[in-house]
């Protein structure tokens, strides 16, 4: 059973507009939530994270929001740029089985149109 879900496999937005990527999780033991960005033929790179004690974390054009009651997080990119076109993975970490591991969602492919 998937503990981290990204229900939108793809998203297309116009350059300059806001991109919103969504992620849902099922395990309440998760402590940290992270977003990774992946370009073709490269490994994923860490983008931004948030602790479960916060509900928002901002880094430049990127903001992650966490709604613990809904077990939902989202990544906002404002303004979107063509270079943001990539696959975005949501991930979660926590002491879920007496060990810590990152569990990833299936990814959302973002296309930013010039």
């Amino acid at each position: 059973d998937q503990q981290v879900k990204q229900n939108s496999p793809s998203l297309s937005v116009q350059e300059g507009r806001i991109s919103i990527l969504n992620c849902d999780y099922t395990n309440s033991m998760f402590d940290y939530f992270l977003w990774y960005k992946k370009y073709p033929a490269e490994g994923p790179t860490f983008l931004i994270s948030i602790s479960s004690i916060k509900d928002k974390n901002e880094d430049g054009r990127f903001t992650v929001f966490l709604n613990k009651s809904a077990k939902h997080l989202s990544l906002h990119i404002v303004p979107s740029q063509p270079g943001d076109s990539a696959v975005y993975f949501c991930a979660a970490s926590g002491n879920t089985d007496s060990s810590y591991k990152l569990i990833f969602g299936s990814g959302t492919r973002l296309l930013v149109r010039p």
Partner: protein, 114 residues
């Protein structure tokens, strides 16, 4: 660049043959991970290590084994490759158990089993 390299970058092998993928790090990080990336599944954990000679299974460990005899090297072995193991394999490292600040990923190994 980042102190993590994977070899080989590409490999084509025949069904039933053994295959070993190598992950090498120069960061002296304690934690190392092997993931596979498949369409619709995102990144799934195969095995991980929390120190020399200390390894454990991830969610998709069947058909794979690992070894870590030195801090810097983490080997993934497919004992008898099958077509279902055709995938892109990523190694990752972390200096914290929680992975709260993200993992650093290698560039990946594209494995094709024919």
């Amino acid at each position: 660049d980042a102190g993590i390299t994977q070899s080989p970058r590409h490999k084509v092998t025949e069904t039933g043959t053994p295959v070993t993928l190598r992950c090498h790090q120069t960061e002296n990080h304690r934690y190392m991970y092997w993931y596979r990336q498949d369409p619709g599944h995102g990144l799934r954990l195969i095995h991980y290590s929390y120190g020399v000679k200390d390894t454990d299974k991830g969610e998709v460990s069947d058909g794979y084994s690992v070894s870590r005899s030195k801090t810097e090297d983490f080997l993934l072995t497919l004992e008898s490759a099958t077509s279902s193991q055709t995938s892109v394999y990523f190694c990752a490292i972390s200096d914290t158990r929680e992975g709260a600040y993200g993992y650093t990923f290698g560039s990946g190994t594209r494995l094709t089993v024919v």
